[in-house]
Amino acid sequence: MELLAFGKTGWGDELFYATLMTLAVSITAMLIGFFFALIFTPLKLSKHKSLNLIGNFYTTVIRGVPELLVIYLFFFGGSGAIMFVASMFGYYEYIEINAFITGSFAIGIISGAYSTEVFRGAIQSIDKGQFEASKVLGIKKHIQFYKIILPQMLRLAIPNLSNVWQITLKDTSLISVTGLVEIMRQSYIAAGSTRDPLFFYSFAAVLYLLLTYLSMKLINKLEVKYSRGF
């Protein structure tokens, strides 16, 4: 137990901050994922074949390729791509991107593909009559979306979004390969310096279990809130 002490003697405080880091990366990635879903869901639902193809390409490729490979692409290719863009603007210095930004971006793109599928499914399962009725009533397009479609969609999407959140939370463990100090990386460091990998990796597993358990409790509350009246 003294291995988990706070302060200089134990790893308690380090693991605590690492847990906060995992949470921060997961939340950032989830939000980046929502941003991508916001772009690609309309594309997938579009009537134009070419736009449809772009949307399908995104979700198929990201969901068909291992997360680790996507992370390696961003980790090794990220700064190169930014430097290429910068060189077009006449900036030739070396640019190094923060591991936090690379990591949450990589996980965000993956999470976005899953969120896109969830939103698409939720919108498609809303009764067509709702769209037609609001059109007949002369409600403007964006008000129709915010006041009629979105509240109904959220109710249907929240159970599946909680799955996406779980996937995203677990995927953040993979960013440890880029050196960002989250739960997995911190356990790796602690296990290396104390030669007690069994304890620290098991403790990491407990931390992840705690995170998934607590977030499930929170999401269940949200679910109750949005399914009022059903």
Binding site: E67, L73, P197
Partner: protein
């Protein structure tokens, strides 16, 4: 880009080996725990639930690390014959994958068994069919049909999961891809080739499941 193709293709063999072995063992574990989950004894029931909860609630990476780095620490294990298996990263990866996919598979099979209408089992019983035959000839075929779409997803998830074998020094498709990226600094080209191979495999799995769904798509 083309020169890296044969190397990556060679590594694909390891990925496929990892996938098929872990799916095979995972299916056995999944079936066992699905049966335990339906047991009326609360302790056995809770144990099976706990197993699937823990393995579904923690990242696969943690599980591999516990098995590969963690278990070697136990002195007792080093003296048993198990150490022959546990010192190999290849078998450690397969154990971790099998336990992980077993947890998901048990959930898929359990929900498939639960969707079988009780009337079908009662009908079997009233016809005087022995319990064992009811299980093998009525429950299992229906459960297979019900669980095929979800199991297809699980195969694809596991295919992506095998990429984590590269973190315990195995040179699978992702491991070789990373090695080529870090020696040539051409991440995008390698990503396209390796990603293409993975996409092709998921495409094959997807179509295989579709074919099986059609084959087993009898009315229940």
């Amino acid at each position: 880009m083309i020169s890296s193709f044969p190397k990556l293709l060679g590594a694909t063999v390891i990925t496929l080996k990892l996938l098929s072995l872990s799916l095979f063992f995972g299916l056995l574990i999944g079936l066992l725990f699905a049966i335990l989950r339906m047991n009326k004894n609360t302790i056995i029931n809770k144990f099976a639930y706990g197993y699937s909860y823990v393995f579904r609630g923690t990242p696969l990476l943690v599980q591999i690390f516990i098995i590969y780095f963690g278990l070697g620490q136990i002195e007792y294990l080093r003296s048993t014959f198990l150490w022959v298996i546990l010192k190999e990263p290849y078998w450690c990866a397969i154990i971790a994958f099998a336990l992980n996919t077993g947890a998901y598979t048990s959930e898929i099979l359990r929900s498939a068994f639960e969707t079988i209408k009780p009337g079908l089992i009662e009908a079997g019983k009233s016809l005087g069919i022995p319990n064992k035959v009811i299980f093998y000839k009525i429950q299992i075929p229906i459960a297979i049909k019900q669980s095929l779409p979800a199991y297809g997803n699980e195969i694809i998830l596991m295919l992506k999961g095998t990429s984590l074998a590269s973190t315990v020094t195995l040179m699978d498709l992702t491991g070789v891809a990373k090695y080529i990226i870090s020696t040539t600094f051409k991440p995008i080209e390698v990503f396209i080739v390796a990603g293409g191979i993975y996409l092709f495999m998921t495409y094959c799995v997807h179509n295989l499941i579709k074919f099986l769904e059609k084959k087993y798509g009898f009315q229940t």
